[in-house]
Amino acid sequence: MTPSAIELAARADDYRVARYAAAAIALSLVEAAIPSPLPGVKPGLANIVILVVLARYGWRDALWVSLLRVVAGSLMLGHFLAPGFFLSLTGALASLAVLGLAARLPARWFGPVGLSVAAAFAHIGGQLALARAWLVPHDGLIYLVPLFAVAALVFGLANGLAAARLLADRDAAAL
């Protein structure tokens, strides 16, 4: 019997996407170990990687890394196709949509910090919209909105600074 072999030719940018996705997944896993007073309030450290990829290689690569991160991260954490997975996917897609638009702004004026904060707000916006429509169809959710907004501001700023710092650092270019 001849063994069947499927050859998948991986190009250099496939390896690059995989490498960044691995970094993003690792950050997601680390983050899952951090206790949080409220489910959903998380630093979103993987977004640092997304911002770096967006700045260096463009939106398409950022989309790939982000979606790989969501799917593989949820497989590793064991919540693939659970509600948390869909929240995470919606947040990722919403923030990628905003990043796609914001990346067209002049880079001289808008850097990773601005993009990060805008993306963080899109992230919670998308998640809360899905949660309201599907998981908790109740207006009581609105009491949590301010909390999520403050978290988005704080973590968006922190992640943006981290990404800007990495992008400005020549030594980190080999990441």
Partner: protein
Amino acid sequence: MKALLRLIRPGDWLVLLAALLACAALLPYAFSGGVPEKALVKRDGRVVAELALTESRRIEVAGPLGVTVVEVQPGRARVAADPGPRQYCVRQGWLTHANAVAICAPNHVSLALVGRNKGYDSLSY
């Protein structure tokens, strides 16, 4: 700190300002949750009075032990007097939040504040 600030570009400050304003605008929602709208007085699980929390009133509810007095003032309500032996519901004092409950079990009377939305006792994720 200075090195960090250099990483923030002019437009980023605009985004941060907008985000800050959004947070400030949303803040009141965090505290609007517990506003009660009316007081429900029950005896043996049946509603005997529904009082709007807009004016001061006192009502008396007769139970097996005697008369429980419920007092309502704008925005709050309490059990003013109860014949029960341990006086738990009286000592709870004024109830001010939606979904707060004072139960006078010996006399089969309960007082509950309800808001626009029914609250949950607990949520698990």
